[in-house]
Symmetry: C2
Subunit: 361 residues, 2 copies
DNA sequence: TACTTTACTGCAAACGTTTGCGTTAAATAA
DNA sequence: TTATTTAACGCAAACGTTTGCAGTAAAGTA
């Protein structure tokens, strides 16, 4: 039973329309007198009037809300994306609604359903799956959307992500230059865009270096830390174990670290480790983790910018944008090219090959 | 221009009411014949009908949505809380809308305004501020809410948080037992519930141990990592620096670690460190960080449970619930009680004093 | 036969806005 | 004076639902 325009109208003796116009900045367009404006505003204030967004949305067919769906809100990468998106949207006076699909496509499906029912004005999606039939529905519903981080090669949609292939190339090439030849890759969820592209970069780096691909060194099946933990344990059991591991995501790397710690494997002395993603705490790890950094705030800004264009011009050509990754060389990769044992401190010499190309492609 | 009940009604030749009843499980109550049911459902499916949540909410005065407001979505603690809350709500078929107030009370204020305008059915708030006038408005609007993590002593509201005083006591007592007497406290945002209660625990631990409180050792002013970094640098400059630091939150601890690394201060040999909060990566830090863990999923479950009770019984007595913290002793605190230098491995002896009382109070 | 129940469906109001159009009275123009 | 503009506001429809209340025809009961 909040106060409504009608209540204010009755109290002030003007019509509902007039109250509406006063309260929502159409006073000059409809030339409402200063007198009534003051009267209406006073009553509205004393009533603590708040517009009913449902009624307004119903009438105007516009909600001023953007829906955001991510696979895992507790993943530092996605929470950083959300944070940036939130900032961008706030600037433009949009609200947003976040859904966590929990890496589950059926939850993602129902999240999309909910958001469409709510009639959001736009959608930002980091999709979990290999299947995009539910994404199609968004297009059919005629609501603008943009995909981030995870997109589909064979689905024509606005999307923005880091250049995963290049990122993986940077990481694996760094390992190769440091003398590694047996390099394992712990995957994320197979079939997802992020995973397949990173895998592609991994393979491509190896083959260009003339290293044959050993399928036994490509393991794992999701982006969580437990996956990294288990697969690392298994890799260490191999008769001919890898000298380096490249993990597809930060949580996987954490799991790998845990496994190493438990097995008394010292990084980088016994095993080198490098990972995709570069959350805030990598530098505090022991040792600081070498990692491929994604330009998170650029991704968010670009996503919102593209969403805006799409909202303005629904029929523009659709674009897939790739942003440049950056390799941060720290202390978790040993140079084994010349000697078996090299003091850790020497490692910093490789710091000079740090690559820093930021900017968009 | 999505399809509406009216479209379906026209296509099938029945009334809008009938369509509504068929499509939303009131068929048996209104005894709709199997025939019409089938007909309506078929057409609805072929149209890809989706209910308009705005219209429904307007009509029923119920949105099935819960609003959630946190100060910083990228803080691992809060993203974990959100994740748990999301799971709980999903079980009960509620949707939820997250807002990030960015530790800014004016954003928090406008978030509350938005959520009230949207007519959410309930609210979960981790408030940033010292002021609760805007929270009062939620009560005036008569919508159920519960405060988590950060609540107000002098504001009677449902709330659930960890027992901060006890948590701080656990941490500081552990330091004291390890022989420390000069113990610094790097605060979070002064005036907030979390900070003041942790400060209280800190002081209380010192005084019970007969250690006088040195105001020079109580520093800092927010929960971010930069704060920890700066204050640690300053503490190290003191003519009589502390032997141990207790930080009010995980990000502060990260900042402290960074400062120590830069100054070549070895933890725990040169300085002991212990912190409130225990995010997933503490165990991978160098050294693994001793920390006070909050029962995050219990907090979330309890919050939602309380919210439910409040929604059922709006006039129940209000409760403030405190959950038990847990001290996780790891490797970042040195025992200096007997000797100046003790091998790190000895430290694990203190492991037996690990306290693990879970459950609610 | 007459009356009551039952199965099934429709009418229409209501939720709180926004907005095109119309209306009135005063001001201005011719 | 009359015609036209302008300032200020109200009417009423529309957005898409839900739901209490009627209403009708058939079936059951006495």
């Amino acid at each position: 039973m909040p106060y409504t325009l009608k209540d204010i109208a009755e109290k002030t003796g003007v019509s509902v329309s007039t109250v509406s116009r006063v309260l929502h900045d159409n006073s000059q367009k409809y030339k409402i007198s200063e007198d009534t404006q003051a009267k209406v505003k006073a009553v509205a204030k004393s009533f603590g009037y708040r517009v009913n967004a449902l009624a307004r949305g119903l009438r105007t067919q516009k909600t001023n809300e953007i829906g955001v769906i991510v696979p895992d809100i507790s993943n530092p990468f996605f929470s950083a994306v959300i944070k940036s998106v939130a900032g961008e949207l706030r600037k433009k006076n949009y609200n947003f609604i976040v859904y966590d699909s929990d890496e589950d496509i059926s939850i993602e499906r129902s999240a999309i359903k909910s958001l469409l029912e709510k009639h959001v004005d736009g959608l930002v999606i980091a999709s979990v799956g290999q299947d995009f039939s539910h994404i199609q529905k968004i297009r059919e519903a005629n609501i603008p959307f943009v995909m981030v981080d995870r997109c589909f090669d064979d689905f024509d949609a606005d999307s923005v992500s880091v250049d995963n292939v290049k990122g993986a190339l940077l990481a694996v090439n760094h390992l190769i230059k440091s003398g590694h030849r047996r390099i394992a890759f712990i995957q994320g969820l197979p079939g997802t865009y992020a995973n397949e592209t990173r895998l592609e970069g991994y393979k491509s780096a190896l083959t260009s270096a003339g290293i044959s691909i050993d399928e036994n060194l490509i393991v794992g099946d999701d982006f969580r830390s437990l996956n990294g933990y288990l697969e690392t344990k298994l890799l260490l059991k191999l008769s001919n174990p890898p000298t380096a591991i490249f993990t597809a995501g930060d949580l996987i790397a954490l799991g790998a670290l845990e496994a190493c710690r438990e097995n008394n494997i010292s990084i980088p002395d016994d095993l080198s480790l490098i990972t995709f993603d570069d959350p805030v705490f990598t530098t505090y790890l022991s040792p600081p983790l070498s990692a491929v950094e994604q330009p998170i705030s650029k991704i968010a800004e670009m996503a919102i910018a593209m969403l805006y264009r799409r909202m303005k011009n629904p029929n523009d050509e659709r674009r897939k944008v790739l942003l440049e990754p950056k390799l941060n060389v720290r202390g978790s990769v040993a140079n084994i090219s010349t000697l078996a044992f090299i003091p850790i401190t020497n490692n910093n010499q490789t710091g000079k090959e740090q690559i820093n190309k930021s900017g968009s492609a």
